[in-house]
């Protein structure tokens, strides 16, 4: 996953806030899940801190 898509998703979420759309919060949850996936993808070092 490319981090660019996550930030584009946040732009859509902000459009949802301005237009007061009902899908804003569910889409925000998708953004959070995508952020966690991106975090997991960057846990590539050998230290014993990966989850």
């Amino acid at each position: 996953m490319h981090v660019l898509w996550i930030f584009l998703l946040w732009i859509i979420v902000f459009i949802g806030i301005f237009w007061r759309q009902r899908w804003t919060l569910p889409l925000g949850l998708v953004g959070l899940i995508a952020t966690v996936v991106f975090l997991k993808m960057n846990m590539d070092s050998s230290i014993p801190l990966n989850f």
Binding site: F7, L32, N42, L49
Partner: protein
Amino acid sequence: MTTQVKIARILNLLALLALLGVLSGSLHLQFGQGEPPCPLCLVQRSGMIALAVGPLLNLFTGIKVRNYAFAILAACVGGAGSVRQILLHIATPGDPGYGPKVLGFHLYTWADITFLIAVIGIAILLMWPGQFAANDRGLLGSPGAMRVLTITVAAWYSIYLVAMTLFIIPMCGVGMCPADPPESTYLPSNGAWLAIGGAGILSLLIGIISNSRMRRR
């Protein structure tokens, strides 16, 4: 509208302003001092943007428990990124940390403190049920200084979000972001502060114009 809703709105707005301050600092480091964000820094930025969504929804659509809940989740996600980065640098002996220090702490430590304060602050706010009983529908229907400030802050976040998104492309291209991105200065230090101030003034203009147009309707 009850006094409790008014106080809750002011607290949400203050939280957004504090978060804007943190984001302004990180953008100044990126554009004014040539410190591009690492992948874990981008996780924390994503968490900060997500953290702003809850209070913004509270102001735009009304104070709701689910908006606070979303903000707590966002703080947990962003906090996971900053804790990961703190531990990463602790676990490697002799590691000086990533990026410059601000007031004695690295930015990821400040980010972790911010996320922690957000969780504690929201937990305290959730103990106060009066703000939810009023069935608030947001402040877009009520003209005045609070509406101007709310639109200003939302516009300011939007400008930052677009700037962050645009500068991911030259930094990461279409593949994975580099773990240690090369330094690249876009503006002199004062120029970066001017750009941040300019974004604030532009947002204030958007707030004032939007407020007067809504009043005319």
